[in-house]
């Protein structure tokens, strides 16, 4: 152990809202060795690691890592290339749709390695980890253990001096775990002086580390080499040592788990039975001819490598999946997904936490009690009883998200047992739970099984838990290898421990696949490392994100298709749909006069293509009714004696009522009616007064410019393109960032040397490209399918479109910095793009005619200016010279929006 510590913490504190995660932590972590962080769940291990990695902003105290203050952005930027951080959770920072190779490649690019260098390193890492045969498999399709190895490859690609691993082996089977630590050991051999900090829940792993930190309640309990901790507590194993280190109040509740033997002869009734059960997904067989029989009241353990079909088997037993072959029975009855009565007898706990994080503990319990149909009057008592049994009474009004994993798992179990089921199916219930909480969990299981006769079918990766089962099955690659009591299995391999027996079985089974853990290759020559590219803007890092985003788009063809073809469909629908040419307006006449001249007036209207005549009105009541129902938009009333009065030269008035419910239409109707009236008057005047009247005072020449035929489509199509080019690219851009936030991979941005601008622009580029493709398709569509004449300069339009889609995607990126959930992102983007683009940007009403706040939005909204350019180039035969004015706002918007995005984007979690 070298002299100066790799990390030095002074009085560090951290709070999430009112929860105190870390409290006055002062600690020097020695350099060049393996340091383990041990302690129950929710004591602040992960928080501490993310602070050291620079992923989270420091709230209190001072943290020095690799000789500099982590509160200083400049230092952080300098040391990111020297730190590797692998966050908690199976592959949480990986990209599930990208292949194994692409994932590692992405990290290599982030750290600025050249192509050859990357390929060499990736090949080495894949060989070392045994992932080489799976290089092309998407990360999402890997088993848990393989994901962890891939995460390690991604972390190691840049030769870190400090490797931070947060529970890297949680949920990983014993064989994979063993291989994982062998790998770490080899890497340490080849890279002398590398410091490793690991948080772990496995005490037997921790026992092999050089130096340990025991934590509880956000504080450090003790630190030192394992042997020293054992000596100090006078214990022989770390589990006991840790319990001894706990404050007396917590220690008191602890008892060793003792499972009484099953009462003899009591459990001959078969609770769960599987016969030749199989499950195929396509040509992949997940479960292959599995048979077993579990007696009532038995605790049956299910062990196996990751991805071997344990979860699938359990899902078939609960009816969540329908078996492709064989049969399964519960209490002698075939499993039928539609049979609700059998569901009442089964309690199921799925692998991940699957309760409602938006409901409190009490609400979750009550909801499930009600859904299982417990009588309403017994529910409060039952909830209270269950809460007491699972020691949840103190957390009844907390939200599950705020609770440590161990308590959350207790809640899941409480929910699974609230209806007193006869069978419990538990899928890795203790994964990620600390030893103390795990023991508590097993005491409850023992009680349920032995005293209440509940049959328990449980899967686990912990050998000490497997030893507590009455019988266990070892599963691998969809097949059951062996099924017996734990003692018999150990004996059959003549091994010392169950773990050794288990690993033996697995190695036999995998021998055929020859995943040889290669002997440590010669320490790779890594001297030519292009170390620490800490330039403020690095094109390679930016393109790493571009490439990643592009790959994801390519791997999700539905999204790309929707984005391109979808906008064409929308254009088609909207182009034909929005039509300003109002025709076929229905009208009816109330003719009190009914003379030749009054009928002539009516003919004037019904003869035009704009109006369709409906049966005459019979009276005012009829008029009211038919206007109310919307059957007619115009009613005309010709007064009695119209013909007579007209002949005598008396002034007569014709009444016209327009349906004003839809003002745009009413306005058009008014124009038509007035025009028709004038024409009729002029015509009659000519008939009556002769040629004299034909001559007006003046002539009015109306020129409809740019669109001489006054075709609605010619006016609308150029304006619809800007609307579509705004909404779809901004939606894609928003989701590309918010999705990383929601799914956790944003942490890669926090802990790598990528700057905010590189991140934003890198993500933006592929969407700009998609949007430009969209633009070309839309423009071609307008010209070819809609036959809209294109009269101006296409180069000008294309240049403007390019600027505009940059603005559109940048708007999406700015939005994404505020929004954290994908639902809010979708809703928010729809709100801020659709309404302004459709209503304030000159699509229908010119911006100059708007008023109030809408006018203000119209003036600053980029769509306004692109509409001007699109109409100018399509209809007005204009080029760059005339339209240059409209380019200026777009050019200003780009740096402003990207600047805002970069300013609001957080480089660390808070």
């Amino acid at each position: 152990m070298s002299g100066s510590p790799v990390a030095r913490l002074e009085n560090v504190g951290l709070s999430y809202g009112r929860t105190r995660a870390l409290d006055a932590v002062t600690l020097d972590i020695p350099a060049g060795c393996m340091v383990g962080l041990i302690g129950p769940d929710g004591v602040g291990k992960s928080s501490l690691l993310s602070l050291i990695a620079g992923a989270r902003a420091i709230q209190q105290g001072r943290i020095e890592v690799l000789g500099g203050d982590m509160a200083r952005a400049a230092h952080r930027h300098g040391v990111y290339p020297r730190i590797a951080y692998m966050p908690q959770g199976l592959g949480r920072n990986l990209y599930p749709t990208l292949s194994v190779f692409d994932n590692i490649d992405f990290f290599g690019r982030l750290f600025g390695h050249g192509r050859q260098e990357r390929e060499r390193r990736i090949a080495e890492l894949l060989d070392d980890t045994g992932l080489a045969p799976f290089a092309e498999r998407p990360a999402g399709k890997l088993s848990g253990g393989m994901k962890q190895k891939l995460g390690l490859c991604c972390a190691l690609i840049h030769d870190p001096d400090l490797l931070i691993l947060d529970e890297p082996t949680t949920g990983v089977d014993p064989l994979a775990r063993r291989q994982f630590w062998q790998l770490i050991e080899r890497i340490r051999l080849s890279r002398e002086g590398m410091s490793v900090i690991v948080a772990t829940a496995y005490m037997e792993e921790a026992a092999r580390f050089d130096w340990l930190v025991a934590m509880d309640g956000g504080r450090i309990l003790a630190c030192g080499p394992p042997a020293e901790l054992l000596r100090r507590t006078g214990t022989t194993d770390l589990d006991a040592a840790f319990i001894a280190l706990l404050p007396a109040a917590k220690r008191d509740g602890y008892r060793k788990v003792v499972i009484p033997p099953r009462p003899a002869g009591g459990g001959e009734e078969t609770a769960i039975e599987a016969e030749h059960l199989s499950m195929r997904f396509g040509d992949f067989t997940a479960v292959d001819d599995v048979s077993f029989r579990i007696a009532r009241g038995e605790i049956f353990g299910f062990l196996g490598s990751n991805g071997c079909g344990k979860t699938t088997t359990m899902k078939m037993l609960t009816g969540l999946l329908e078996a492709s072959g064989g049969r399964a029975r519960l209490f002698g009855r075939d499993i039928d997904p539609r049979d609700l009565t059998i569901r009442r007898r089964v309690g199921y706990m799925s692998q991940g936490f699957s309760l409602y994080s938006e409901l409190t503990v009490r609400q979750n319990l009550e909801l499930h009690a009600r859904l299982f149909g417990l009588p309403a009057e017994t529910i409060p008592a039952r909830v209270g009883e269950t809460a007491g049994q699972f020691e949840l009474a103190g957390h009844m009004d907390a939200l599950p998200g705020a609770l440590p994993l161990g308590i959350r798992q207790r809640l899941s179990l409480a929910v699974a047992t609230i209806h007193a089921p006869d069978i419990l199916i538990l899928d890795e219930p203790t994964s990620g739970v600390d030893p103390v909480a795990r023991d508590g969990f097993w005491r409850i299981l023992a009680d349920l099984s032995r005293r209440q006769g509940v049959t328990i079918f449980v899967s686990t990766h912990f050998m000490n838990e497997a030893e507590r089962c009455d019988r266990i099955s070892l599963m691998h690659a969809g097949k059951v290898l062996v099924s017996d009591t734990p003692a018999a299995i150990v004996a059959s391999r003549s091994a010392d421990t169950l773990e050794a027996a288990f690993v033996g079985y697995l190695e036999d089974a995998t021998a055929a696949q020859a995943v040889t853990v290669s002997a440590p290759a010669a320490p790779p020559s890594r001297d030519e490392t292009p170390r620490a590219r800490s330039r403020l803007f690095d094109v390679r890092r930016m393109f790493a994100y571009t490439r990643r985003e592009t790959l994801e788009l390519v791997r999700d063809p539905i999204r790309a298709t929707l984005a391109t073809i979808g906008s064409l469909i929308l254009m088609f629908v909207i182009g034909y749909g929005i039509n300003m040419d109002v025709e076929n307006l229905s009208f009816a006449i109330l003719d009190h006069d009914d003379t030749a001249i009054s009928r002539d007036y009516g003919l004037q209207l019904s003869g035009s293509r704009f109006f369709t005549e409906r049966p005459p009105l019979t009276g005012y009541a009829d008029m009211d009714r038919r206007m109310e129902s919307g059957e007619i938009s115009l009613a005309l009333e010709i007064p009695p004696g119209f013909g007579r009065d007209l002949a005598r030269g008396r002034t007569v008035a014709i009444g016209a009522w327009i349906d004003g419910a839809m003002p745009a239409r009413a306005e058009t109707v008014r124009g038509y009616v007035e025009g028709m009236h004038m024409t009729w008057l002029a015509q009659k005047a000519r008939e009556i007064y002769g040629k004299d009247a034909a001559q007006g005072d003046f002539r009015f020449e109306v020129r409809y410019r740019y669109n001489p035929d006054v075709r609605s489509l010619d006016a609308m199509a150029p304006a619809v393109i800007p609307m579509l080019l705004l909404m779809i690219p901004s939606m894609l851009a928003v989701l590309s960032v918010v999705r990383e936030k929601e799914l956790g991979s944003i942490v890669n941005f926090y802990v790598t040397p990528v700057t905010r601008l590189e991140f934003l622009i890198g993500k933006q580029i592929p969407y700009v490209a998609v949007a430009m493709l969209n633009f070309l398709l839309l423009a071609a569509f307008a010209v070819v399918v809609f036959a809209v004449p294109f009269t101006g300069s296409f180069a000008t339009l294309a240049a403007a479109a390019f600027l505009y889609v940059i603005v559109a995607t940048a708007m999406g990126l700015v939005l994404s910095t505020f929004l954290n959930s994908q639902i809010a992102a979708i809703f928010g983007t729809a709100l801020v793009t659709m309404i302004p683009a459709a209503q304030y940007s000159g699509l229908i009403d010119p911006v100059s005619s708007l008023q109030g706040f809408g006018a203000f939005i119209g003036h600053i909204y980029p769509t306004t200016y692109f509409v001007t350019i699109a109409r100018g180039t399509f209809s007005k035969a204009l080029g760059f010279a005339e339209l240059s004015g409209a380019f200026v706002p777009l050019l200003i918007a780009i740096p402003v929006l990207i600047g805002l995005g970069a300013a609001f984007l957080r480089k660390q979690a808070r």
Partner: protein, 370 residues
């Protein structure tokens, strides 16, 4: 189906919504500020139309004509030269440009019927039509008054009394407010149910429901009623306090009848949301699908432009959208004061569409859960 399950699952949905403050803020925004701003921004009939006048005559009559254009119908006219006319129209500064030729007054008085030229930017369809008519009648009126006394007229004494019913001033904001409320209803109904369902799947909670004695039917009904209730409450609030209150739009008809229509529309839309969620594989796909459904629903339902002017095939297709019927119902009830006897066909249509969508979505939902 057990009513109790539906009730409790629905309450669970409502509690979940309360825990997402950002979403609540967006809902409130969609039904208050968004509606208010949009309605206030909408020009009243012909509002502040930009007009320029090229006065080559500089006579009493040309000055008179220029003076006749003033707000609110028109912006004060820009007096420009003939050279400026083209560039200003190209830049989109003016919708109308009126050219009064030299010696216009002299020729007018001499009875030589001189010609005025009116240039209209026909890419702005909405103003081009109505505004053109206005300009002509204003100019004619000014010239007639100018000529009054100079010559006697030979015209027929028939006047046309034009009145608009239900919205005498043809205030676009009235209608715009309602059509925006309808857009918000549609958007929210789809997003709340659809996106929430995808989230349940992404977070694994849907699987948990399936091992319990609840049926797909109960799950779906609970989502429909709870989210529908939120949207219905928000729209009722919006109508009473924002539309009738802040915007002072007179509502002629029965609010209850409108809300009954809204309930049916929301029912159909929430079912559609569930259907979209079952076919979208991920949130980004759902977002795109949402856009592809929302825009046609908003633009083609008759809420933005009149249905009569759409091609027959689109009119026909849009009859399958509940929105179309809801827009008809909203116009009839809120503005024309129509009663149940008038709008029952729309209610019936929405009910049938909603029921069909429900059955269709339920089938998809069942398969989706497998």
């Amino acid at each position: 189906m057990r009513a109790a399950n539906v009730l409790h699952l629905g309450i669970k949905e409502l509690r979940g919504l309360l825990r997402d403050p950002m979403l609540l803020v967006l809902i409130v925004y969609a039904f208050t500020a968004a509606i208010y701003t949009a309605s206030k921004a909408m020009p009243e009939t012909l509002n502040r139309a930009p007009i320029a006048i090229v006065d080559e005559d500089r006579s009493a009559v040309s000055t008179r004509i220029a003076g006749a254009f003033y707000p609110p119908y028109f912006l004060a006219p820009a007096l420009i030269s003939q050279q400026e006319m083209d560039s200003r129209m190209n830049a989109g500064l003016d919708t109308f440009a009126l050219d009064i030729p030299p010696n216009f007054q002299r020729d007018l008085l001499a009875g030589r019927a001189p010609a005025l030229q009116l240039n209209i930017d026909a890419t702005r369809m909405s103003q081009a039509f109505t505004g053109g008519g206005y300009v002509q009648s204003i100019v004619s009126g000014e010239i007639s008054e100018f000529l009054a006394g100079h010559r006697s007229e030979a015209v027929l004494p028939v006047t046309l009394d034009l009145r608009a019913r239900f919205n005498p001033e043809l205030n676009k904001g009235w209608f715009g407010a309602i059509s925006d409320v309808i857009t918000s209803i549609t958007m929210l109904s789809i997003v709340l149910t659809g996106a929430a369902l995808i989230r349940e799947r992404e977070h694994g909670t849907i699987e948990h429901l399936l091992v319990m004695p609840v049926t797909a039917f109960e799950i779906m009904v609970s989502k429909v009623w709870s989210m529908g209730l939120i949207v219905l409450a928000a729209s009722a609030f919006c109508l009473v306090f924002v539309v009738e209150g802040l915007l002072a739009v007179p509502v002629n008809g029965s609010l209850l009848l409108f809300l009954a229509g809204a309930a049916l529309d929301i029912f159909a839309m929430t079912c559609l949301g569930i259907f979209l969620a079952t076919i979208a594989g991920s949130m980004p796909q759902f977002g795109l699908l949402l856009m592809m459904v929302l825009m046609p629903l908003q633009l083609l339902s008759g809420g933005v432009t009149p249905r009569e002017s759409m091609p027959d095939i689109i009119q026909f297709i849009m009859l399958a959208a509940p929105n179309t019927h809801f827009v008809m119902l909203a116009q009839a009830v809120l503005f024309r004061g129509a009663g149940f006897d008038v709008v029952w066909p729309q209610l019936a249509a929405m009910f049938l569409i909603g029921a069909a969508l429900f059955v269709f979505s339920l089938n998809h939902f069942r398969n989706f859960l497998r």
